[in-house]
């Protein structure tokens, strides 16, 4: 019998206590909330820079980007990728370390490395990418990075990379016409020889 009344007492008191807590939240509704009105407000971007150069590299992981002018075609990122979403094809450049104007190929990277290869295909399938960041670390030229990386000014941080079609998520970074242009050049050279 005592149990019966303590149960009733406990129910009433704990329910009223709970209602008190929720009422406090109701009154101070905006105190603790973390909601953002998404398209108008956006997440404050993480304000930190890490990596190679502390002032220019951001941790944010939103999309991979490649600076083709710096890429030497070493395939390190392709090998590092755990889901095989990077595909690179390279061909030997006619002359090492020289610009090829026809296919907009730059011979020397911004780090001063002389390129021996022309990258004719550099595809990243972002629909498969798992955003693990493993590809950005081995890169000797620091040319593959998540946007917001070394060239944050050129490629502002953005979250919305949605596409209506899956195949639009395959990003092709190689210079357009590089393969054909190179073949043409080689053919020309052969003809001259």
């Amino acid at each position: 019998m005592k149990r019966y009344f303590t149960d009733i007492y406990e129910s009433v008191s704990s329910i009223l206590g709970g209602m008190g807590i929720t009422l406090m939240h109701l009154i101070k509704a905006r105190n603790d909330n973390v909601t953002l009105q998404y398209p108008e407000e956006k997440w404050p971007r993480p304000e930190r820079n890490i990596g190679f150069d502390h002032n220019s590299y951001n941790v944010i992981r939103s999309r991979l980007h490649v600076d083709m002018d710096d890429c030497i075609g070493c395939l390190k990122c392709e090998r590092a990728c755990p889901v095989d979403c990077i595909k690179i094809v390279t061909e030997k450049a006619p002359v090492r370390g020289e610009d090829l104007k026809e296919i907009k190929h730059k011979g020397i990277t911004s780090n001063g490395t002389r390129k021996a290869l022309v990258v004719t295909r550099f595809d990243i399938d972002m629909s498969e990418c798992c955003y693990c960041n493993l590809c950005t670390y081995p890169c000797p030229e620091e040319c593959i990075f998540m946007t917001g990386g070394p060239n944050a000014k050129k490629h502002p941080i953005d979250y919305e990379f949605s596409e209506p079609d899956r195949s639009d998520l395959i990003y092709r970074f190689a210079k357009k016409g590089a393969k054909e242009g190179l073949a043409e050049m080689n053919a020309k050279q052969e003809a001259e020889a």
Binding site: T22, V59, C130, C132
Partner: protein, 373 residues
């Protein structure tokens, strides 16, 4: 008048059901509301984790471990790197160890918040769940600040970390802890001591200690059964022996030792202990030390095998790694704590009412990503 026996009905709870925490299918035999037998069917989320691991290098395994227990990715990373470091005999410096402990404990808080919140949600209490998600959000913000990712971090690497702590992280974490500590009491009052909640969970789904050990149940579920077993204390890995914290054990305050309420309460207490550990780790955090210092250029562990256990929020997380000396593991088996926790469901939940079965399932805190791998 004798007892009326109705015809038994077979009912499929799941794979799509709001209370199965993922895609789990429970085939239950019911007689009215009473459930007599539960047969779990797994595999709806099977992603061939172990087969994958045999085909990728050791560092490439880490993103996959993230995806196993997606609610506690940091501790999954932690367990894996501890295993590989033991296998390769790498010692990492103190700063890395401290950062790892901070991250793992923050992750434990986040995971327990979700576990207790979802447990409340299974019983129909929506508000505590969203309050807990709100605070988990703040922890995730801290992780995003550190490594740029919010859910799947790939933060701990063999021999180090992917990034050092950012500027302002320590202050942000301390701010969060100051804000968060009073909130734990609020959760406790709002949900834990609510009479309806107590009635729904106390004395429900009692798991005696022998059953728990025999079924290989670990972590908070085992501790709720009154067994003082925590790998952070009993088999300290990393630098957990440096910290002062208690191991909360189920005491049967509202009912019997090992009931659903105890499992809930042990998690809530563990949140408090984790807060203590994070504070200590931040106090002792060494100022200098390169987080990439001990990272091997190429991860090729010597031939041999290792079984290494760490304490994930869900229990003993074991990695069995067999290395053949090449840069890919020859066999990598993850002994996932939720897998064994789900195995005990039939034993402790058979014979209860349908609502109780789902409450017990919620109290076990399973993550299907880890069960199905």
């Amino acid at each position: 008048m004798g007892v009326v026996h109705g015809q038994e009905m077979v009912l499929n709870i799941g794979p799509q059901h709001p209370a199965t925490h993922g895609v789990l299918r429970l085939q239950v035999k019911t007689d009215g509301e009473v459930i007599s037998e539960i047969t779990p069917y797994l595999g709806y989320l099977h992603r061939c984790f172990e087969k994958h691991c045999e085909n990728v290098t050791y560092e490439q395994v880490i993103p996959f471990t993230d995806r196993c227990d997606y609610l506690a990715s940091m501790t999954m990373n932690f367990g894996y790197v501890v295993a590989v470091e033991k296998l390769m005999d790498i010692k990492v410096n103190d700063r890395v160890q401290h950062i790892r402990v901070i991250m793992a404990e923050l992750q434990r808080i986040a995971s327990h918040l979700l576990a207790t919140g979802v447990f409340g949600l299974d019983l129909g209490a929506f508000t505590p769940f969203l309050h807990m998600l709100r605070d988990r959000e703040r922890i995730i913000d801290l992780f995003e600040m550190t490594c740029g990712a919010r859910l799947l971090y790939n933060y701990m690497w063999v021999g180090g970390l992917s990034h050092d702590l950012p500027k302002g992280f320590v202050e942000a974490t301390l701010n969060f802890l100051d804000y968060f500590e009073p909130k734990i009491d609020e959760f406790e009052n709002l949900l834990g001591h609510n009479k309806i909640f107590v009635e729904r969970t106390a004395d429900i789904g009692i798991m005696p200690a022998e059953v728990a050990i025999n079924f290989g149940v670990t972590g908070p579920n085992l501790r709720a059964s009154g067994v003082n077993w925590d790998l952070r204390k009993d088999d300290p890995y990393s630098i957990y022996d440096k910290f002062d914290f208690n191991v909360p054990v189920g005491q049967g305050i509202k009912g019997t030792v090992g009931d659903s309420w105890d499992r809930f309460y042990v998690r809530l207490q563990e949140i408090r202990e984790s807060v203590k550990i994070v504070r200590q780790a931040i106090d002792q955090l060494p100022k200098d030390g390169d987080v990439h210092q001990s990272m091997p250029k190429k991860i090729r562990p010597p031939k041999g095998s290792i079984y290494s256990r760490t304490e994930s929020p869900r229990g003993d997380l074991g990695y069995y790694i067999e290395s053949d000396g090449s840069d890919t593991p020859s066999r990598l088996k993850m002994r996932s704590p939720a897998f064994t926790a789900l195995g005990v469901l039939d034993e402790i939940a058979g014979g209860w009412l349908m609502s109780d079965v789902l409450a017990i399932l919620g109290s076990l805190d399973i993550v299907l990503g880890e069960i199905d791998r």
